[in-house]
Amino acid sequence: MSDSFKKNAKILVFSTEKISDPAIDMAGLLKLHYPPTVYTITVPCSSGIKPSWIIHAYEKGFDGVFIAADGTDCIFGESCTEKTGNIVAITHEKMKEKEIDPARLRMAALCSVCSEAFVKQMRSFNDYLIKTIHSNNN
């Protein structure tokens, strides 16, 4: 395993095909680096993410899950923001029941050109997870 895999947190990102995934692609195009332990799964809309998928990710060893939400830009309409918020709230409850730190789930709205914002989010989330989880494990 490479050094970066040992020292960085493992983060699962849910991105959206039309809005936030293009921003993540553009971060690559602009060679804005973030840890290679960040993986993206793309869905049509952030309000279609099931809490059970997020819980499954923690159970399988992901340190953090990040929802790159559509926000008000969602092509399926403005109710997306509230619905994605509800999914996060329900998942937080489930995480508490399973004694998983709710701060291991983050959400931010990313538009199709928010590459720098994405990279900043990943770096700060990675720092947080390394501090809390990796240091607890040591």
Binding site: M1, S2, D3, S4, F5, K10, L12, K18, I19, P22, A23, I24, D25, M26, A27, G28, L29, L30, K31, L32, H33, Y34, P35, P36, T37, Y39, T40, I41, V43, P44, C45, S47, G48, I49, K50, P51, S52, W53, H56, A57, K60, G61, F62, D73, I75, F76, G77, S79, C80, K83, I87, I90, C111, S112, V113
Partner: protein, 574 residues
């Protein structure tokens, strides 16, 4: 469940393989369950590889195909079509993005990029095992096309669309068409003047009944997506006393051609703003176009000696303007030739960073040398200096063509050869969510393969809003943007992805949560075997998936994004 998968891992020339060890990726996945073929390829999108893939599908009796290459925004459709040519349903194709999200994003960490790529391909394989054949739905598309920006690019795009018998609405924020081209008199490489050229095209446009020209008009709101965009436009009063007009338009696709701005030097940059004898190329060009008489005068002063300083606001060492503005070497030389042809006793001294009069424009450079213009060259670390001595303007430069000898010249006028920058008002980009590149101009999907398309389906870009271009380059891109925008809607119908929600009606006991969550009213209540259950109307469902997480008994899955698929991808990534 698929059992005979073929996996292709692309070098992308070196874009991927310079950072990701593609052979290692191949070795890591070739024994994954269901994989019967695993290959690396130099360019997965090349015709040869596409032909090989079709052959492989038949020879190896594949039931699923995965390509690990660039972003799906570029080549998902390409490989879906290849799959279809191999007689498989195109929706069984699965794509892994190991360029934008592995090799480029982690070009600072080759081992890390390779390990990530292995997991991304494994996740794609996991998804592929479940990818079922699907069949698309069709919907009617608006036949109108909006062109935003009425410079040379927008006008030519509109004209080309009009010739294709499409209804075109040309939206220009100023009160006249023509953009910057209409500001110029003589142009390089043609005998027609800038304002004559734009007037001729405008005249042609006005002959078409299917063209609506809205000047003094700006888009203030956009909604919808390909096939059905809604634009709200604010139009300034066209006659005194008229009210401000709000126009609402429904269009199927959009060409954005909002152009560029002249780079304005900062106060003090090469003495700009400190002396009347230091001006920019656009200002100088207009003076020369206008000037009559035997001699050139500027602010009442006779001009004989002119120094041109190149690459002002372009090719900068750092900051945003590291690009070459392309038109300016040629334009400066062309203007300098005009000066000599029009007036007597003129001397031109060009202080360049190396001349870039590419293609046929080189003839102008040759002509200028023959006419006796002087060329000196500086590098970015030793910029020319300008000082005023009384009424005199003195320029010094270390000429790298003569062993960095310091040259000093007294001139009557300094012309700063300024480049192109993006327009400061980028609101149209913000509304349509158009990505920008590092240079802050709007970004195409692929510089070589999809040069006028953007990641926003149905929106193309034309002319200098995409980056510096001369007129013929702007027109070239405008013609291809028009063709692309037309092709989106020319059939009158568009296919929607067959990604829709599916309800397990045995598990459903109708609680109406899903139908409340659906923003499109796509879920109905039906009777089935004596029970009330939910049912999805496939023609109305847009495939957002909003209904799936709210079902208390987890009876809803979005096709292509089922819990089984998602969990198996998470397992592969973990």
């Amino acid at each position: 469940m698929k059992e005979r998968l073929g996996v292709y891992i692309c070098h992308c020339g070196g874009n991927i393989s310079d950072y990701v060890d593609v052979e290692k990726v191949r070795a890591a996945i070739e024994h994954e369950k269901g994989v019967v073929l695993a290959k690396t390829t130099m360019f997965a999108c090349s015709d040869t590889n596409q032909t090989d893939m079709v052959q492989d599908i038949h020879e190896h009796n594949l039931d699923g195909v995965i390509v690990a290459s660039c972003s799906p925004k570029l080549h998902l459709t390409t490989f879906r079509n290849v799959t279809e040519r191999g007689d498989l349903n195109k929706y069984t194709y699965v794509h892994a993005n190991i360029r934008e999200q592995a090799s480029w994003a982690h070009s600072d960490d080759k081992l890390g990029a390779t390990e990530k790529a292995i997991r991304l391909v494994k996740a794609a394989i996991a998804k592929s095992r479940y990818a079922d054949p699907l069949f698309p739905n069709q919907f009617e598309a608006e036949k109108n096309i909006a062109v935003i920006g009425g410079g040379i690019a927008g006008m030519k795009a509109a004209l080309s669309l009009a010739e294709k018998k499409s209804n075109v609405i040309l939206i220009e924020k100023e009160n006249r068409l023509g953009g910057h081209t209409a500001e110029w008199g003589s142009l390089f490489m043609t005998d027609e003047k800038g304002f004559e050229l734009t007037a001729r095209i405008e005249n042609d446009l006005r002959k078409y009944n299917n063209v609506t020209i809205l000047t003094g008009a700006e888009v203030i709101d956009t909604k919808g997506s390909i096939g059905n965009f809604e634009l709200k436009i604010r139009r300034r009063p066209q006659n005194d006393g008229d009210p401000m007009e709000i126009v609402e338009l429904h269009v199927g696709s959009i060409v954005v051609a909002t152009g560029y701005d002249h780079y304005l030097p900062k106060q003090g940059e090469y003495g700009f703003g400190t002396s009347e004898t230091i001006i920019t190329l656009p200002e100088f060009k207009q003076q020369v176009d206008k000037a009559t008489g035997k001699s050139l005068e500027f602010k009442g002063k006779k001009i004989n000696n002119i120094a041109y300083i190149y690459c002002v606001g372009s090719r900068q060492n750092e900051g945003e303007n590291t690009y070459c503005s392309r038109f300016c070497c040629t334009s400066a030389i062309h203007t300098a030739i005009e000066v000599k042809k029009k007036f007597k006793g003129m001397q031109n001294i060009h202080l360049t960073r190396g001349i870039r009069t590419y293609g046929k424009q080189e003839l102008l450079y040759a002509e200028s040398l023959q006419m006796g213009d002087l060329y000196l060259q500086f590098d970015e670390n030793n910029l020319p200096e300008i000082r005023s001595e009384g009424k005199k303007t003195v320029v010094t430069v270390k000429d790298i063509l003569s062993a960095r000898k310091e040259m000093e010249m007294e001139v009557d006028l300094v012309v700063l050869v300024t480049g192109m920058v993006p327009r400061p008002d980028q609101s149209i980009g913000t509304m349509l969510k158009l990505p920008k590149g590092r240079d802050r101009f709007f970004n195409e999907i692929h510089m070589k393969l999809r040069p006028v398309e953007t990641v926003i389906d149905g929106v193309t870009i034309a002319g200098t809003c995409q980056g510096p271009k001369n007129i013929s380059e702007s027109v070239n891109s405008a013609l291809s943007a028009a063709t692309k925008s037309f092709s989106y809607i020319s059939k009158g119908t568009l296919e929607t992805e067959p990604i829709i929600a599916e309800i397990d009606q045995d598990a459903c006991s109708w609680c109406d949560k899903c139908s409340n969550a659906c923003p499109f009213d796509a879920i109905d209540q039906i009777e089935m075997g004596g029970r009330t259950v939910a049912s999805v109307n496939p023609m109305v469902c847009k495939g957002c998936g909003m209904c799936a997480p709210v079902c208390p008994v987890d009876a809803i899955n979005l096709i292509g994004y089922t819990s089984e698929e998602m969990m198996s991808m998470i397992d592969a990534l973990a």
